[in-house]
Subunit: 173 residues, 2 copies
DNA sequence: GTTGACATGTAATTGGTTACATGATTAG
DNA sequence: CTAATCATGTAACCAATTACATGTCAAC
């Protein structure tokens, strides 16, 4: 149930339509919590029904501008403070690693080299974001920097690990 | 659709019932791809219907022992070699980071310190596994070690990052 | 004979993805 | 006038979670 909280969070220091929030999503939260258009519109409706959001204004083309209510902010804060983040993270990449023995050594090696490349590309992409985005001083910009640093460290780690893992295969015990 | 491949993978160098596979899951794959009992039994049925698995033997208590077929192995290898691993990984922890501005500085600091602690505990748990599990030489043991190393490096990274992030809050720009 | 491990399944619900469908407004 | 952007929604499907339901066999 994190999407609802993502939407509440985006509405803390701004007000916006589903369309606005979708665009914000793409340029910020999509890396940690992807969502589709249908999901966003659906969830906004439910949040408004539940009184966590209010329709602050209606514009052209049926545009509905949402704003956070008292109870919406309370729910967000409750989620941040009291709800434990999920422990396990699914990774189909690591799942594959378990079964690399079903491939030839060359194929397994290729798999790990590709992962190393992906990690390296991800790292580059994060570096790009760090340089090119002009960071505002709003909440998601300030804290987005902290999250971005995680991405940078993670991709660096993945690259080193994949290198190490590929070496393990090349020189077996 | 990774669960099907997880099951195919487990059946590469052994043969087993849903019950057996569940137990194997818990002690190996659960960290990278959790699955429930109902999911496992359901998926095994579908895989058998599709000819990727065969019922090799039937035992007491309705026990059905599955084995990998030719086309099952082919499908596994295809997934390993040709299907790109998922790019984005959801993290409700990082999602929360974006919204830390909705908390007081103390609350936000506490959140990051708790994350540091979780990472540290995860690291300890992985160290424990590394020491205590007696590793066989079967496929999932050999490659499980490679995956475990990822867990160790990731938890170390998370711990350092959380420490850094907590410091960022304490001494603001 | 009773407890615990073995063993399999179904049903209801939720969250997420993909595809489809429609239409208004603005800028060139 | 026409293309791009704005704007919202529905429907079908799939994967995963939770809870329920049932029953067997072995060991003590």
């Amino acid at each position: 149930m994190s999407l609802r909280h993502a939407l509440l969070g985006l509405l803390v220091d701004r007000q916006g339509s589903g369309y606005d929030l979708m665009k914000l999503f793409e340029t910020s939260l999509a890396n940690v919590w992807p969502a589709t258009q249908s999901q966003v519109y659906g969830e906004l409706g439910k949040l408004a029904d539940g009184g966590l959001l209010a329709v602050a204004a209606e514009g052209p083309r049926g545009r509905k501008e949402y704003s956070l209510t008292e109870s919406g902010l309370a729910e967000l804060r409750h989620w941040l403070v009291d709800v434990e983040p999920t422990r396990v993270h699914r990774s189909d990449m690591l799942l594959r690693v378990f079964f690399l023995g079903a491939l030839t050594r060359e194929e397994a090696h290729t798999f790990l080299v590709k992962e190393q490349l992906r990690a390296s590309q991800d790292h580059d992409a994060y570096e790009d974001i760090k340089e090119k985005i002009d960071w505002g001083d709003d909440m998601i910009s300030v804290n987005g920097r902290i999250a971005l640093e995680f991405g940078l460290r993670l991709s660096a780690m993945r690259e080193e690990w994949a290198q190490w893992a590929a070496d393990q295969l090349t020189v077996p015990s």
